[in-house]
Amino acid sequence: MRHSTRIAVGPVQFRIGSDWAAPIAALDRLYAGYPQDEARPADATVRLFAARPWRRWLRPSVHIGGDFVVPDALPLPLSMGLLAAEMGMNLQVALGWRRHMLLHASAVAKDGRALIMSGESGSGKSTLAALLGEGDWRLMGDEFTLIDPASGDALAFPRAVSLKNEAIAAVAARVDVARLGPLLAGTPKGDIRHLIPRADAIAAMHEPARPALLLFPRFGGEASIEPMGEGEAFVRLTEASTNYVALGEAGFAALTRLVRETPAFGISYPDGAAGIALVEQLWADAAR
């Protein structure tokens, strides 16, 4: 393809090709601090392309392709090329990665132990992870957490954090503007702005962490904590995993082990500060 770049996030080496220069330039800026290995073959390929040659210039719209394709995925305008790249990368990992059990969950770590937060979009798992990652936690990822079936450890996937809507202002107030991507206003997912993880989180991205606490956050309502049984946590995590079935017995073993060894809670919280307070309280118990 005309323009391309290579990005390594956690264990995944991406190759991203584009019919336009802009999305690649934007990616290169966001991922400039990530380790580069130009000779490493790609595990996953993302293509950003124009459906017809003239659509590169005329009302340019970005189609998302690659190793795996969602047939009815709608194209995005070129101004949202960075979002298209992010969606393409997510898609390839979600559908193609087989080495680890993939959880649609954010994670942060402290002292080699991981807090994993799983929830639908809108649950605030991404924002909580971003806020914790600006404190004394290591951000492991805002979207995917990988579980190594052999060891049971959590592995990081610290892509650029995708901040949405109100979370943008909440996080932007606390970080150097150089760590923020361009504001993508009015996307199908609302306003989006990417946050480059802290350098220490990127440097530590290959360090595994032992799962110590599983949270299922829900944004809104009074602050509350609900202990969750192993069975329910198991069901929720199968639903949060894109490759649980494909991993066969290895996935089954990894997931039963995870829910047995890791205390799980559902939490509700009215705002970020309350959410952080609940997390720290539960962590203090779990880490004891």
Binding site: G229, E230, G231, F234, V235, T238, V245, G248, E249, F252, T256, V259, R260
Partner: protein, 93 residues
């Protein structure tokens, strides 16, 4: 019509992992996970190697569990066996 007989999975085909109030069963033949509650694990355990119908099963379970006062054990077990067959965990003999 006599109750249908069923056959259990061969030894080693199923892996049971109790998770609190539920039991996760991994079927190595189908690569499927089934989450079940009592009395499904007990039924599967009591099936044994040969063909087995609801009456046989009721007798075996009665030896281990207190089934007095449970009305129509046979009908209930028949229904459960049908569900286990639909999941592929047991097979019509």
């Amino acid at each position: 019509m006599p109750d249908p007989a069923y056959r259990a999975a061969p030894p080693g085909a199923l892996r049971f992992e109790p998770l609190g109030e539920v039991t996760a069963i991994f079927d190595r033949r189908s690569v499927q996970t089934h989450l079940v509650v009592s009395p499904m694990p007990e039924i599967l355990e009591a099936m044994g190697a040969g063909d087995c119908d609801a009456a046989t099963l009721a007798a075996r379970l009665a030896a281990r569990f207190d089934l007095d006062g449970v009305a129509d054990v046979g009908a209930i077990l028949n229904e459960r066996l049908g569900e286990l067959a639909a999941m592929g965990l047991v097979e019509r003999a």
